[in-house]
């Protein structure tokens, strides 16, 4: 074989596959603010998993000899009206935030995904009923809806998660439905149908996986907002009761002592901001890395 022919053959070879995962991380971690977000989230997860080891004091045990202390080397952010260390309470609050955030997000995403997939895949009257229901749900502010559902179900952490989850599912249903409609028309769906696959099988094995990328983007972008809703509800005192520590209720507890001890309500708020900001930035990063069309546009 001549040298020239060999070169031609070489050029016909498939170029080496770019490692998708490596490219994802390269784009994802390309911006310093995303790296900052990842670090904050890692710290948050560690705090949520092992607060007993990190927190210097018991967050619940009252110490009436040391109430309303100003910050000192023993109590970095001071103590509250019942002598409880504020730093420890903020660290324990991370657990509530992560737990409610993740579970509520999961409830919203799964229920929204199933509704949207069903509506988009079947179309017709199924589509009309489900999507008009979702439209109706969107007319209620999430905060009010969550409040009403919390009334219906009664208090408790689990019910708060369900309330936020139902309140937030409409966004997922909408995105999923649009995705399912566009994926449904693909040849491989027709192929699957003609080879006798059931609707269930086509929906969950063929349509669903092809709808995932925008759903993942939406989910990462919504974690921050979910945590904000949790903070809002616990600020109002809905669902989350003592002794569970939540950042929103810490802000509310400290509100009474605003003039003389402003740290009591401002410090937990800063924890919320840092964490939500971190999740939002990571969400933007995931979107840039998964959907290159949108890169840098937000």
């Amino acid at each position: 074989m001549s040298e020239e022919a060999e070169r031609d053959l070489k050029s016909l070879e498939v170029p080496p596959r770019v490692n998708e995962l490596r490219r994802f991380f390269k784009v994802f971690l390309g911006r310093p603010v995303v790296v900052f977000g990842v670090i904050v989230i890692l710290i948050l997860i560690i705090c949520a998993a092992f607060p007993e080891w990190i927190a210097p004091y018991d967050p619940i045990k009252q110490d009436l000899k040391n109430v309303l202390l100003q910050p000192s080397s023993q109590h970095l952010l001071g103590t509250d009206a019942l002598g409880r260390d504020l730093v420890s309470r903020i660290i324990f609050g991370a657990r509530t935030a992560v737990m409610v955030g993740v579970v509520a997000l999961g409830i919203a995403a799964v229920s929204g995904m199933i509704l949207g997939l069903t509506a988009g895949y079947f179309g017709g009257i199924t589509y009309v009923i489900i999507m008009r229901f979702i439209d109706a749900l969107m007319a209620f502010p999430v905060m009010l809806l969550a409040l009403a559902i919390a009334v219906l179900l009664g208090g408790g952490l689990v019910n708060v998660m369900v309330a936020i989850g139902i309140g937030m599912m409409s966004g997922y249903a909408r995105v999923m439905c649009g995705q399912a409609i566009s994926v449904r028309e693909n040849d491989y769906i027709i192929a699957a149908r003609s080879s006798g696959a059931s609707n269930m099988r086509i929906m969950f094995r063929h349509v669903l996986p092809n709808c995932f990328p925008p759903m993942i983007v939406l989910m990462t972008m919504m974690i921050g907002m979910t945590i904000l809703f949790e903070a809002g509800l616990s600020f109002l005192g809905i669902g989350i009761k003592e002794p569970t520590v939540a950042w929103g209720s810490l802000v509310n507890d400290g509100y009474k002592y605003l003039l003389s001890y402003p740290l009591l309500s401002t410090a937990p708020g800063i924890a919320i901001i840092v964490v939500v900001y971190a999740f939002n930035m990571v969400g933007d990063g995931v979107r840039d890395a998964i959907d290159p069309r949108l890169r840098g546009t937000f």
């Binding site: 009010l144 409040l147 904000l228 509100y255 605003l258 919320i272 930035m281």
Partner: protein
């Protein structure tokens, strides 16, 4: 639209009917129950129509809602409709102002960030936008109360006075709450406008507009903005619901007797009729304003008008 409205009412109706326990308990106190016999309970049940089918009950309920009867509060035994009449204007006043401010401030900021992409101005506006969707508004409210109310003593920190009674006091009272409500709305408008404008700015027809020598102002205002605003208008419908949701928190922080506060009070006193009425009225108001927003598409986008 009518169908959505129908579903909204069904959701609100079922919300209270699906309550665990007998709905009759909503109308009777424990004391009443001890004193009266089972026959009397049944009679009351019959009078209230609770022994009929759900569908009949729904039709009855929707009929009374349509005539403005939103039920009776179990706490003060007054008409819930009167509460709503007093409080809805307050929330609409604050929320409406925040909504308008978010459009007037947010959209131009987003356009500027997109047009000056990559400059310090863009970085500043984008960072502010990212921060604005992050801050918990109840915390922002507390911070503002601390700074402007307690430390500087410039503004009153709570309450609401009718603007017709004392316009100047009213203005002072609503500055901080409206600001709190507007911040996340402005921030999401900035983010959305910026990204949508960037998308539009790389279209061919914008390049054509540039290359035929139009001034920047014309390219942006006449060509880019019309298409760039469409997703922003969609977003505003969602923002509206978010502002009403936020008013639950802001009205609590600033002790403003609006709809949000009413819902929270109803919640804590287990006054289901109040919670139900607030949710129904808010849902209908949001739907109505969304209808207006949908109609504005036709004005923005001729494809909708002729389609």
């Amino acid at each position: 639209m009518i169908l959505v409205l129908l579903i909204v009412t069904i959701i609100v109706f079922l919300m209270v009917r699906l309550l665990p326990g007998d709905p009759i308990l909503i109308y009777l106190t424990q004391q009443d129950l001890d004193e009266i016999t089972q026959e009397q309970v049944d009679a009351i049940r019959h009078d209230l129509g609770l022994d009929r089918s759900l569908v009949t009950q729904y039709i009855d309920w929707i009929g009374s809602v349509a005539t403005g009867d939103l039920g009776t509060s179990i706490i003060h035994r007054g008409k819930v409709g009167d509460d709503i009449k007093r409080r809805l204007p307050i929330t609409l006043h604050l929320g409406g102002l925040a909504f308008i401010i978010s459009i007037i401030v947010g959209i131009p900021m987003g356009v500027i960030a997109a047009v000056r992409r990559g400059t310090w101005l863009d970085s500043l506006l984008t960072s502010l936008g990212n921060l604005g969707i992050t801050i918990p508004i109840f915390w922002l409210g507390i911070l503002l109360i601390y700074a402007f109310g307690l430390k500087l003593d410039w503004l009153p920190i709570f309450g609401y006075t009718s603007p017709f009674k004392d316009f100047w006091l009213n203005t002072q009272q609503i500055i901080l709450p409206v600001f709190c409500l507007a911040v996340p709305a402005i921030a999401s408008a900035v983010r959305m406008t910026r990204s949508s404008m960037l998308e539009v700015m790389r279209q061919d027809y914008i390049r054509t507009a540039w290359s035929k020598g139009l001034r920047e102002r014309l390219v942006i205002m006449r060509h880019a903005l019309k298409n760039g605003l469409i997703p922003v208008v969609t977003l505003k419908g969602i923002t509206l619901a978010a502002i009403v949701g936020g008013s639950v928190l802001v009205e609590t922080v600033f002790s403003i007797p609006g709809m949000g506060r009413l819902a929270v009070e109803g919640l804590f006193s287990q006054d289901y009729a109040v919670v139900q009425a607030v949710i129904l009225v808010v849902g209908i108001v949001v739907l109505a304003i969304n209808l207006l927003i949908d109609l504005s598409y036709g004005w923005l986008d001729p494809r909708v008008r002729y389609g």
